[in-house]
Symmetry: C2
Subunit: 336 residues, 2 copies
């Protein structure tokens, strides 16, 4: 294992210290691996948004904390759900500030996250805080009705943050923000491909191995293998397979309007991402689908995994307006 880290056990607290040091608008919650907006007690009656999950998905979710997106991010160990206590501490810190009109939790669909965020929500409600929760499961590689814990949450989660964050910022109430977040969670779909495994620091070696001409299709974001191993294809064919699966699952057809997120899983250079983005765009256009916006970069990763995912979200003018609304975060791109 070759990584720019100090002690393996310090990876999460130290990366958060680094993140916060470079972002004057952020603070760490004392004694917790929780990133908060510095002004989390001055939200002016807006709804607060809290997300999080295991570490290893950077810039998710700490990089999305700031005006227009998240109020806080609760971070567990690498690929491990944060504790109920950590989530509750984040919600309490915001509730104690007294300036939030309720808290929405945005959770990726993994058993540990559902459990710990869900329990924290119950406990916070018992303390009198208005809390709602939306679960994101955007991975089309798993059939929606298969024998598993449900579709996994992937990079589409970031679009839930963006839309719900903009709705909270403009002053929507908790029911309204929740409804928009749920709509995006219901409609966004993603699929990924990996060119190699990632290495969890505490494990020290890659989670699987691939031959020089092999890729894993339909993988998650925790270093596990995908649903199918196959031969590496051209960027255009790769993009077509990924975005084609998403488009089929979503039932996209001629005249539909969508946004497209092309996400680096960790170690894919921007040049390759841009080539995949070009292919994904061409494929959607062939289907008669209008791509209203496209973002290409690192949004939700699996440590140092080479590969990418594509996420597609059908949109109307209201969603586009919320997606275009300004943010002040480390990781959501500036308008351009």
């Amino acid at each position: 294992m070759k990584k720019l880290i100090n002690a393996v056990g310090d990876v999460v607290p130290e990366m958060l210290e680094g993140l916060v040091a470079g972002a004057p608008g952020l603070v760490l919650l004392e004694g917790q691996t929780v990133v908060l907006r510095r002004d989390h007690a001055r939200l002016g009656g807006r709804v607060a948004l809290v997300s999080g999950g295991g570490a290893g998905h950077e810039p998710a979710h700490g990089g999305y904390v700031g005006p227009g997106m998240l109020t806080g991010a609760v971070v567990g160990d690498v690929f491990t759900s944060p504790s109920t206590d950590a989530v509750l501490a984040a919600v309490r810190a915001i509730a104690e500030g007294g300036s939030a009109s309720g808290v929405l939790l945005v959770v990726k669909n993994y058993t540990g996250d559902r459990l710990n965020f869900g329990l924290a929500a119950e406990l916070a409600r018992a303390e009198g805080t208005d809390v709602e929760m939306v679960v994101v499961g955007d991975d089309v590689a798993l059939a929606a009705d298969g024998h598993h814990a449900g579709r996994r949450g992937l990079a589409g989660t970031v679009l839930v943050h963006k839309v719900a964050g903009a709705a909270a910022e403009r002053g929507d109430d908790l029911a309204g923000v929740r409804a928009l977040a749920q709509r995006v969670a219901d409609d966004v779909r993603s699929m990924g491909v990996s060119l190699g495994a990632c290495t969890v620091p505490a494990v020290g070696e890659p989670g699987f191995s691939l031959a020089e001409d092999e890729v894993e299709w339909g993988l998650g974001i925790h270093g596990e293998a995908g649903v199918e191993r196959g031969a590496i294809a051209s960027a255009d064919d790769t993009a077509a397979r990924l975005v084609g699966a998403v488009a089929e699952d979503a039932g996209l057809s001629d005249g539909d309007r969508v946004v497209l997120l092309v996400n680096d899983l960790g170690a894919t250079p921007p040049s390759e991402l841009d080539i995949v983005a070009r292919g994904a765009l061409a494929h959607l256009r062939e289907r008669g689908v209008t791509v209203e916006r496209m973002w290409v970069g690192r949004f939700l990763t699996a440590l140092d995994m080479p590969g990418c995912s594509v996420s597609v979200l059908p949109v109307d003018d209201e969603l586009l307006g919320l997606l275009d609304a300004p943010t002040e975060t480390a990781a959501w791109p500036a308008p351009h």
Copy 2:
């Protein structure tokens, strides 16, 4: 070689097509690998800024084209200077628009780039266009007076783009923009470390090999080995060595004010970059240096190389104001 590309010869044009497809403010110059602001003929008398060089450094330089930074980026083959003709075509396209008060070329200090950008500047001047050129050589791994072509241009170049772009945007004349660009080029210093080689698509295999516990110190951005091979150190020690070399070279001392750029060379996950950033910040603080701003991410890469560089620029209030000025580009981060 395992890459998300189509034909090797199509990497550069296709990545630029992808970049431009996701950025409505950009266009490609017909028949050239040149990215321009769509409004390059409506600059309102402002100075135009053109940079570029070999491909493989994405998001540099196409990702910095937009209001507040570059007017255009001229892109060669991977790690190969663009031709004189390509640079001249970019300058001509801007000059023909008739709305620019001169063109400043920002060039990284490599023989091919100096030659091709320099010759294009001469030819454009002969055509009556006001052109100036600033060369950036920020790499402290090479002694300033050694037997080589001079210090190499590294990620510090992006800070030249940012400062000069903001000066152009506020309406400074060519001499003024040039002077600010030259000041940043003179003062910015960088040093990098690599944990492995990158793979040039047309070559198909890594440029060097390193043992599991080895790194290359003081490397450039073209896949070449560094000035010294050594054992991998902790992130804190790595950061201290990089930023220490930069601080010594710059003669930084107690009370100095700087900005810090921590740059991924291509395949380093954000978690590791944030840990290095934390260490670099701690080292500068120990020296009594005030870090006024810090940016952490992918700014100027060497394809898929794992590793990072740090760049330090001494600043005053004027430079800070220019660094804080808004931009609309794919790759410069939003304020946060």
